[in-house]
Each structure stands twice: as structure tokens, then as C-alpha cells.
């Protein structure tokens, strides 16, 4: 799967499966919102729509593969992969827990990311990334995807915890019987454990790659990526050694993800404006 030229790669038009996925993501979001609004009978339809959107998204990525577009050949492309990981992770987690609120947040986010990955201007053609660059982007995408899932769960945790503390039992967080607090916290913790080594490997490979390219390290995304890593490292230490959990851990998970997101945005903007 050797790419031909950068220009050709980025000019690949969105596949029909992409448009189907966009429609399904939007429909899934609407169905999940309906369930949250008390129309519980739409729940099976909502889950089915998420699964179909996931399948359409997979088809789109596969189709791009046949056109020699690697899912991690650029940050723009990786955004689509990230959305795919998010949806897949959400589907997996919702097998065990009822995460309607989580879905109502994750689905529109995945939709926006997918649209951004396919319809934003591609900018200049990238140079040939080589195996190292591609592995770096793949790992970073998977790592950030797992962190994104952990953050979604943490956000739900914070919303539910606040509602419970304030005794607002009819808050949105509790609509459609949201997942219980302790398992949410546990699941987010496990996800950070999974994402951390992947993200670490991505960072190390990235550093090697950048040094091989001979680029300077003064771009803002490099220290920010290090901050993300430090945040999650700190979180794991605090959980393991000091027994941190619950609200504090959830806030730190979100903070780490916010920094990772900033890195992503910087990459994307740089690509778009050249």
C-alpha cells in the first residue's frame, strides 16, 4: 500500500458510505435525544442506528483504503479514525451500561469529527510520512480515542454526581436511568490504563520521527502533548498511590483530554492554513 503522491491522496472525494454514515450519526443523535426526553420506546432504534453508523463509517474507511488513503496518514484523516474509535468504544460500553446521555454527547462529536475529517480543506499535500510517521499517528489517534472515551464517561460522572449531591433527581443526567457512579468511575479508570501505554508509545515514536526529520521542537503542540502525557501519568499515580477517585479523578481525566484536543486542533489548523 504505497501511496502515490500527496495531491492525489487528499483529493479523494467522500464515498457514498460517508454520506450514509453522516445521516445515520444525525439520526442516532436524534433518537438518543428522544430517549432522553422520555420516549423510551426509541431506545432499540437508537442503538441500532449507532451500530449502523459504525458500520457505514467502517465501510467509508475501508473504501478510502482501496483508494490508497491510510486512516492515519494525516491528522485530518486521523480525525475520522478517532470518531470511528469513539463510536466503537461507545457501542462496546453500552453493551454493559445504559449510556444514553453519553451517546447523546458522543454521537454529535463523532459526526462533527467525521465531517471535519472529510470535508475540511485538505491543505498542502503532506510529504511521504514513512512507516514511523504513520505508526506514530495511528497510535496517537487510538490513544487519544481511548482518552476521549474515558473523558466522555468522566463528564457523565461529573454531571450525575453533581445532580445526586444537589439531590436533583429529575436532572438530565438521570434521564433514562443513567449508568451508576461507581462503575462509571471504574470504567474510566480502566480506559486511562489502556490508553496511557499506547499514547506513551506514540509520543516516543513521534519524538524519534521529528528528530529524524530534523524539525525543531519549538512548535507549541510538542510541549502540549507532553503536558497531556504528564496529566495522565499524574492521574494514574494519584489513583494508584493516593487512592484518588470519583470527582477529582474525573476532572483530571477531562483536563488531560482538553490538552490533547488542543494539540489536535493546532495540527488541524496548521494543515488547513498551511
Amino acid at each position: 500500500m504505497t501511496p502515490g503522491g500527496g495531491d492525489r491522496l487528499l483529493s479523494v472525494a467522500p464515498s457514498p458510505a460517508f454520506w450514509v454514515a453522516v445521516g445515520l450519526y444525525a439520526a442516532a443523535t436524534a433518537a438518543l435525544l428522544l430517549v432522553l426526553a422520555g420516549k423510551a420506546r426509541f431506545r432499540p432504534a437508537a442503538v441500532a442506528l449507532v451500530a449502523l453508523a459504525f458500520a457505514a463509517h467502517a465501510t467509508d474507511i475501508g473504501w478510502r483504503g482501496t483508494q490508497h488513503v491510510h486512516p492515519a496518514q494525516s491528522v485530518r484523516e486521523a480525525m475520522g479514525l478517532l470518531a470511528f474509535i469513539l463510536t466503537g468504544g461507545y457501542l462496546l460500553a453500552s453493551v454493559r451500561y445504559r449510556l444514553t446521555l453519553g451517546g447523546a454527547v458522543v454521537m454529535p462529536v463523532a459526526l462533527v469529527m467525521l465531517v471535519a475529517a472529510r470535508l475540511t480543506p485538505a491543505g498542502e499535500a503532506p510529504e511521504d510520512l514513512g512507516a514511523l510517521g504513520r505508526i506514530h499517528i495511528s497510535l496517537a489517534t487510538v490513544g487519544v480515542g481511548v482518552f476521549a472515551l474515558a473523558s466522555a464517561l468522566s463528564a457523565i460522572y461529573i454531571a450525575e454526581e453533581r445532580a445526586l449531591k444537589k439531590k436533583k433527581f429529575d436532572a438530565v443526567a438521570f434521564k433514562d436511568r443513567g449508568a451508576p457512579l461507581e462503575p462509571l468511575d471504574r470504567l474510566a479508570h480502566r480506559l486511562v490504563w489502556v490508553g496511557f501505554p499506547i499514547f506513551t508509545a506514540a509520543l516516543v515514536l513521534g519524538a524519534i520521527w521529528v528528530s529524524r526529520l530534523g524539525e525543531s521542537l519549538d512548535r507549541p503542540e510538542y510541549p502540549l502533548a507532553a503536558v497531556t502525557w504528564l496529566t495522565y501519568a499524574g492521574l494514574l499515580v494519584a489513583r494508584q498511590v493516593y487512592g484518588w477517585r470519583g470527582r477529582r479523578a474525573a476532572r483530571l481525566t477531562l483536563a488531560g483530554f482538553a490538552v490533547a484536543l488542543a494539540v489536535l486542533v493546532i495540527y488541524l489548523v496548521r494543515r488547513m492554513v498551511g
Binding site: 450525575e160 439531590k167 433527581f169 470519583g246 470527582r247
Partner: protein
């Protein structure tokens, strides 16, 4: 037609002091049912006797009233004077009775809206009637449908959603924090009745163990024995709090015992593992400030009761939707029931029509077989056959219409005919006939013009048929 009926007493009409006098034990039910179907004009019967209602559902024998005799029977079975319970007993018949049975099964008639127990009790009562041999096709169909309606109401409305009492709310809140209660430990501080109930409820929902502590060790031991718990000394309170996941407190202490300094140590020792404190004591056992600790969820009796009230309000709202479902289903069942009454008539009508048509067809076929016919003659024979069948079928109603004893009856018969055969304009004529008939002698009423037209045609056809 046999009619469904209900005779009974419930929490709506009488206090428990009266209800208990009319209640029946399970072992008495078969005898009572056989008594009702044996001695009274009742073809099918079912008896449900719970703490909130004693009701007989039955089917009266055709053309007979059963509610009066059943009222008397119930009172006398309990050695009461029928007049003494006349005001608290109610009865419903026909569609009203069906609606009542559907409402009871769907828990719309329950003291706590949406409670699930009544459906089980009704199923047991139905089974008991089946064993006693007193349930039959109509009651059976009604009850089976009632169970279906109850299922529909349960799945399509939120009538049974949300805990409806304080101890269920405690369990529900614990589930919001911990999810599965398996492996969790409950600490009961003090010995209030409500905390005992809540602890039992949590235990039944999967909590692993119950620990009881009290200033008086004897009381702790007694309560622990009662609820399969373990009694621990009061001095261990801090350690017990560190180990517990759900704390239910209801001591008679004047000052708070679950204080901020105590929980500062406890939460640290727990490493912020979540803990739920349910304080149902008045005055309160827990300082409100302990709710500020991470992972600590504090609820007092007001919080729990507010949830109960909100859930009940939600159920009441759902009850409106449920009532519409019941109404729709009642209409359907009523239609089915009424159709059962005319099934023999429909059968007879069909048989008669088939008989007439068959007889005429045979005659025509025989005539055709006797000699050769040209196609034109065959067509004529078929036309004649059709006319003959029509005339024969219309003959009895035509005579009945013409020979009505009074103008009112004639108009009524004309109206029924129009209705049955979908004839529109004649209805007005029938009314005119009735109005005109008011001023005339019976028998002088003019035949409605349209009907007359039709009769004219019929007469012509009859003449034709006779040739």
C-alpha cells in the same frame, strides 16, 4: 346474553376495619365460588380477596340479575346483614365491569398506583377459580385480556416506574451510586422501624451483609437477630463506617453523631470510596456539612419522601395515559362480547340464505338438464334464478315491514332495515311516517314512499317469480 358483572368492596369504599370483615382466606375461596355458581344465577365466578379489596367477578346466567344475590351471598357468608354492607359494596355490569377488571389488573385501582402485586394476586385468583371449576369462556377471555392490558400499560406508560416508598427509594439511590449492590455492606445505626425496613430491602436487593450497632448492645443483638445481621459494639463506630458502603441511621440521639470531624477521618481512611448515608432520624443524626466530602452522598428523610412524592406524581400522570389504553381495550372487549351474543343469529341467517339459494339452484339445474337449451335460454334461466333467490330472501322482511302493528313499529322496522342494508334516504321517510302516525289510527300509517317503491318492485318480482 350473559352479562359480566363485578360485586365488591375496596379501599376506595371502606376502611380496613370493614374490609377485613368481608375478607376470605385462600382455603375458603373454592367453597365460596362453588356456593356462588351453585346457588345463584351465576354461570362463571372468580373471587379475589386481598388486603385492599374483596371482589367477585362473574357472568350472570342469561337474562338474570346476579349482582343482588351475590351482594346478599357475600354478606351472609360473613354473617353480616346485607343492609349493613349495602353502602360499601359496589357493583358494575357489562362494559363497566370489564373496565373495572382491566383497571384493577393494570393497577389503576390500587392504593399505590402502578404497584405490581395486584396482577399476581389476580392471576392467583384466576387459577383458583379454574381449579374450583367456576371460571368459563367469558370470564376466562376477560381475565386473559386483562393480563394483556396490564402488560401493555406497564410497558407503554411509566406507571410502575420509580420507587413508591421510602425504603425502595433508599435502594434506588444506592443503585445509582453503586450499580450492583452485590458485595456491598450495610451499616444500621440505631433501631428505628424504618431503618430496619430499608436495611431488609437493601439486603433483598443483593447487599452482602448487614451490620447493626446501637448504644445498647442488647438492642443491637436483638435487631441483628431479627434481620440476619451482625451486631457490633458502639465504640467501633468509626471502623464500622470505614467498612460500610451504605449507612442507615435512625437513633434517638439529641445531637448529631455523624459529625464532620468523624467523617474527615473516615473518608480519608476509605480513600474516598463512595459511601451513602441515609439519615432517617428526627432530629437528624448526620451533620449536613458531611455532604461536602468527596464520594459521600447524604440523604435525609425529607429527600427520600420528596422522591416518593415525585414518583407518585409521575405515576399519576402516567395513569391518564393508562386510562386511555384501558378505555380502548374495554371498547374492543365489549364489542367482542356483544358479537358473541349474536353469533347464533348470524349462523342461522347464513344457513337460511344458503338453504334458499341451494334449493333454487337445484331446481334450475334440474330444469336445464331436462332438455337442450340455447345460450339465450340459459342466460334467461340464470337471470330468473337470481331474481327468485332475491325475492325469496326478501319476502319475510317485506311482509314483516308491511304487517307492522303500529306506525311506530313500521318506522322502527324500516329504520332497522335501512340500517342493516345501508339504505340512506329512507330514514327520513321512516321518521315522517312515525310523526304522521301520531295523528292517525294504528294501521292507517302511510307506507314510507321509498319503502313503497321498493315493495312495488318486490311485488312485481313476486308475480314474476310466481309465473
Amino acid at each position: 346474553m350473559s352479562e359480566l358483572f363485578v360485586v365488591g368492596i375496596s379501599w376506595r369504599t371502606a376502611p380496613v376495619a370493614v374490609r377485613e370483615k368481608l375478607a376470605f382466606r385462600d382455603e375458603e375461596v373454592p367453597g365460596v365460588l362453588r356456593g356462588i355458581t351453585g346457588a345463584l344465577p351465576v354461570a362463571e365466578a372468580l373471587l379475589i380477596s386481598t388486603c385492599n379489596r374483596v371482589e367477585v367477578y362473574g357472568v350472570a346466567r342469561p337474562g338474570q340479575d346476579a349482582t343482588g344475590p351475590v351482594r346478599r351471598f357475600l354478606a351472609e357468608a360473613r354473617e353480616l346483614k346485607p343492609a349493613a354492607v349495602a353502602d360499601v359494596l359496589y357493583d358494575r355490569r357489562g362494559g363497566e365491569a370489564v373496565r373495572h377488571v382491566f383497571r384493577v389488573a393494570s393497577s389503576l385501582d390500587s392504593l399505590v398506583l402502578g404497584e405490581a402485586q395486584i396482577l399476581g394476586q389476580l392471576k392467583a385468583a384466576y387459577a383458583a377459580a379454574g381449579q374450583a371449576g367456576t371460571s368459563g369462556p367469558v370470564l376466562g377471555r376477560c381475565l386473559e385480556r386483562a393480563f394483556g392490558v396490564a402488560k401493555r400499560v406497564r410497558s407503554e406508560t411509566s406507571i410502575s416506574r420509580g420507587a413508591a416508598n421510602v425504603s425502595s427509594v433508599a435502594v434506588e439511590l444506592a443503585a445509582r451510586v453503586f450499580g450492583d449492590l452485590a458485595g456491598k455492606s450495610v451499616l444500621v445505626i440505631g433501631a428505628g422501624k424504618m431503618s430496619t425496613l430499608a436495611a431488609r430491602h437493601l439486603y433483598a436487593s443483593g447487599a452482602q451483609r448487614i451490620v447493626v450497632t446501637n448504644r445498647s448492645p442488647e438492642k443491637a443483638e436483638a435487631l441483628a437477630a431479627e434481620i440476619d445481621g451482625v451486631a457490633r459494639p458502639w465504640d467501633d463506630l468509626e471502623g464500622l463506617l470505614v467498612d460500610a458502603d451504605v449507612v442507615i441511621s435512625s437513633t434517638g440521639a439529641r445531637a448529631p453523631i455523624l459529625t464532620k470531624p468523624l467523617f474527615k477521618k473516615v473518608t480519608k481512611a476509605r480513600r474516598w470510596r463512595p459511601i451513602m448515608v441515609i439519615d432517617i432520624a428526627v432530629p437528624r443524626d448526620a451533620e449536613p456539612a458531611i455532604a461536602d466530602f468527596d464520594g459521600l452522598y447524604l440523604f435525609d428523610i425529607d429527600d427520600l419522601e420528596k422522591v416518593v412524592a415525585a414518583n407518585l406524581a409521575e405515576r399519576a400522570k402516567a395513569a391518564e395515559h393508562a386510562a386511555r389504553i384501558v378505555e380502548h381495550e374495554t371498547g374492543q372487549f365489549d364489542r367482542w362480547l356483544r358479537s358473541q351474543g349474536v353469533v347464533p343469529t348470524i349462523r342461522a341467517l347464513r344457513e337460511r340464505f344458503a338453504q334458499v339459494a341451494d334449493a333454487e339452484l337445484q331446481k334450475t339445474l334440474e330444469a336445464l338438464a331436462r332438455r337442450e337449451h340455447t345460450p339465450a335460454q340459459q342466460r334467461e334461466a340464470i337471470q330468473r334464478l337470481v331474481q327468485l333467490v332475491v325475492n325469496k330472501l326478501l319476502h319475510p322482511p317485506t311482509i314483516a315491514l308491511r304487517e307492522a302493528a303500529t306506525p311506530d313499529e313500521a318506522a322502527l322496522r324500516a329504520e332497522v332495515l335501512c340500517d342493516l342494508f345501508g339504505l340512506e334516504p329512507v330514514i327520513g321517510d321512516a321518521r315522517e311516517a312515525r310523526e304522521a302516525g301520531g295523528a292517525r289510527e294504528a294501521g292507517d300509517a302511510p307506507v314510507p314512499p321509498a319503502a313503497e317503491r321498493k315493495e312495488g318492485q318486490d311485488r312485481g318480482k313476486e308475480r314474476e317469480a310466481a309465473t
